[in-house]
Symmetry: C2
Subunit: 300 residues, 2 copies
Amino acid sequence: MKVTIIGLGLIGGSLAKDLRLAKFADEFIGIETSEVHAQQALELGLVDRIESLEAGIKDTDLIIIAIPVDKELEVLPVVLSGIDKNTTVTDMGSTKKVITSLVDNHPNRKQFIPAHPMSGTEYSGPHAAVEGLFKGKITIVCDHESSGPQHLALIEKMFQALEMNIAYMSSDEQDHSTAYVSHLPHAAAFALANAVQDKEDRNIIFDLASGGFRSTVRLAKSSCSMWKPIFEQNDQYVVDSLDEYIRHLQQFRDSIKNKHFDELEKLIISANKIRTILDGDHPHFIKNEEKIIKLYTKQQ
Amino acid sequence: MKVTIIGLGLIGGSLAKDLRLAKFADEFIGIETSEVHAQQALELGLVDRIESLEAGIKDTDLIIIAIPVDKELEVLPVVLSGIDKNTTVTDMGSTKKVITSLVDNHPNRKQFIPAHPMSGTEYSGPHAAVEGLFKGKITIVCDHESSGPQHLALIEKMFQALEMNIAYMSSDEQDHSTAYVSHLPHAAAFALANAVQDKEDRNIIFDLASGGFRSTVRLAKSSCSMWKPIFEQNDQYVVDSLDEYIRHLQQFRDSIKNKHFDELEKLIISANKIRTILDGDHPHFIKNEEKIIKLYTKQQ
């Protein structure tokens, strides 16, 4: 099998590593607009060769689009219009409603499976690619009834080769959930980094930064070219989630300001319930070995 | 040398482990109000024996107070009034102004060194005690000119045995810096945990929680009995820091809501500057081996 990966950064590069290790395909083609990244990807052995967009999407079994979501809006229609009838296309973008709406009426829509693996780091570029980035994590597959079953089956097989679990959602549900579980934490970290850097001497922050500060603000290192278009495309749910977060912060702040320390205690104890989610002692826990595939729908 | 540790949780227990390993003392006495924790500390070999507060603070060289800061307000005056003239007392609390004000005029004030090691985890209790918790981290020593030089020297020697660096500040400067670098990130995580749990199905959060979500919200697992009194005692600076944070979040939110994406880009790129602080490529970096001791004062 031949796989073409468009975008050889953190996600595309890590996919290339793991899919090769899993022997999911025997030929890996890269498409990369940055000459520097293309060269690095070849040096790192992420792909066998680099091709142009026009050539790389022809005569291939699977195309994985792993580029920032604004760039994807330009590339996806070109890809869907240029592929052979037996080629499957998937993407790894963090937003889905704008992207799926764009190709809803495309004649080759059935060949496309919109996906979003919930995995990443704050680093970017081919050198950020790591083995095992996806293992044990969950991936979202959107609007699966709009894709052809053969194409869907190939993408499910790919995610299983990566040892991922799959959650099926509508694009709208994915954008809502991802706003809270991923986009809001990134916005929170960006704003926290700015607030602290504004008010405190950088040398003091540097010296005093403990593990707690580092972990809370870690996502503020994330790349602007990836994250700006995510916030743009998921603007409504992100604004809602920020409003919700600001409301909770205000409540926390007011309980301290007004010396309502019983109220403060309630807020902390309520927040502590996140332990059962983070520490994995949760009845809903997915055992990856069993490859349980989850279905989230509004009807549930 | 004989060391008495009051409070055998995460901090007190970890201190006991590391000071013993460093052969800083040959006798470790524990004072612990929780019988369960006292028993666990003995089983874990953290201390040689448990004594009452009255007995444990007599005939000892060094007393380390490592209990929640509200409890410390009750214990510290009792300790200072009950000690021999050659006993040194230090504390590990995260707030300092309220605590130092309380004993400013105490006849044994010179025997007390207010300290705050910038190190910890989100866990608590004797079982949370780990080796190497303090190594390479910084500790703040407050108002050092109010302490006797012999007592100060012993505490400096203790922190050097733990392989920590020392920053000297006034209690007021420590409470300001710690508000931004430690207390605000905790408040941000508590509020984020509440916002997400309020708006999203717990099973979905659990399944989708990626590394990014986990790290941003990790501190929300922190114990209420430790953190409630910290927010109480440092209320003014914490409220200021929360106001600042909310202002930055609002700005971030407005740039998305109003589709001012150039502004959003500026905010993300500005936040990205935290990389140079977090990734250590910074001219101010302290080489621990050299035991550089830093002096922060308003005059700098």
